[in-house]
Symmetry: C2
Subunit: 231 residues, 2 copies
């Protein structure tokens, strides 16, 4: 019917509740085994297997075998970007249970978004970078200026090697919970990686939620003048 590339196929692949649940789990950036993904989507392993095969076929995820386990991860940042773009136009979903509500609050507070930091903390950090004039807006895009480069290098973020990579360097990413932008792209990923290395943030057992440690708040306050955000 339609001459453009096959969006319908890819979108209907994404538009299935169980598959979305699995894709969202993979948005954390980690590779996960089939069984765990089945659990996340609350479906039987057989059904999950069928869905995963379709997602691989469609090029959305990539499969790696380790012994009797099969691990799956997102096929790349373009896929994550498409999921983010969909999140940005998706209506908020009503919360069902108290447990859900707690999980949701944790996610809204701080989480990883594929490979960079999002949620209240992510947005606040991005705001501070802008406020301190380390990062600038060019139109609606972010640009890291000379003092920003120095500052980030000082705390050990590899800036130079990332600037060369083909991927978007300092892309803004629309936060679904805050409805405001946070820092994404390879710079956002490098910064977030460093925050983990420094022990300033750490993953919570739940899927993508993140906690800022006490030393983390000290560091963020010292380096960027951030004050501890109320939960």
């Amino acid at each position: 019917m339609n001459s453009s590339p096959n969006i319908a196929e890819i979108a209907s692949l994404i538009g299935e509740p169980s598959r979305i649940a699995m894709l969202v789990s993979l948005l954390g950036g980690k590779a996960l085994p089939a069984g765990e993904l089945a659990g996340a989507a609350r479906i039987s392993p057989q059904t999950a297997s069928s869905h995963l095969a379709k997602l691989v076929e469609g090029g959305l995820i990539i499969q790696e075998s380790y012994g009797r386990h099969k691990y799956f991860r997102l096929a790349g940042s373009e896929v994550a970007h498409a999921l983010e773009a969909l999140q940005a136009i998706a209506p908020a979903k009503p919360v069902r249970s108290l447990r859900e509500s707690d999980r949701l609050k944790a996610l809204q507070y701080a989480r990883t978004c594929y490979d960079h930091l999002a949620g209240q903390v992510g947005v606040a950090l991005t705001d501070k970078l802008l406020e301190l004039k380390l990062l600038e807006k060019s139109g609606e895009e972010f640009v890291l200026n000379a003092s920003g480069k120095m500052k980030l290098q000082a705390i050990g973020v590899g800036v130079e090697e990332n600037a060369k990579s083909r991927r978007h360097f300092a892309r803004p990413c629309l936060d679904w919970s805050e409805r405001r932008h946070h820092l994404a792209g390879s710079l956002g990923a490098a910064l977030t990686r460093r925050l983990f290395e420094l022990g300033w943030i750490e993953k919570l057992p739940g899927n993508r939620a993140v906690r800022v440690t006490d030393t983390g708040w000290e560091g963020l306050s010292e380096q960027f003048g951030m004050t501890r955000l109320p939960r």
Copy 2:
């Protein structure tokens, strides 16, 4: 099940061939009446009506009534952006007929992408802007520098008022046919609007395809040193 916003709902809304056909038609940026959208998707008016109601309900399109006609248009540039992001990860679709093939070639040559210029011509123009150092890449983002601003103002593109708008100013947009970036965002839209005003490009009867006029080639050659691209 899942705590994040309701991507599944929105994606399954998008992931239906007839609805995609209608959304892609609306990517041209114009508002279209229900009947025309039904024709584009090759479905009966009843079916189209049902689909359109769902799209409105889902917030993807907006409805305006003029007398006994109802016009529909995309709800905003976020929706267009999400569709583009999906296009970027969608596999190319096999071509069916000769007529299709012609239509496809016209689209690949030059078309509007929501509100800016895409296809071979769009990518070539963006390349020229970069080559002439009017536009620069910052990481993977575009920035319009001082000489670029002057040049575009000289041919009548309203640059200042756009820089202030909340929308992305000079976003790169991945071209599905060329697999390379062209200029999007509010600057891309303003430039394209001006090209229409100048009569350098004009819409072809088919949906989104665009033709470069003879005066258009003259102007593009004079202003940006572009040579006529073979079809």
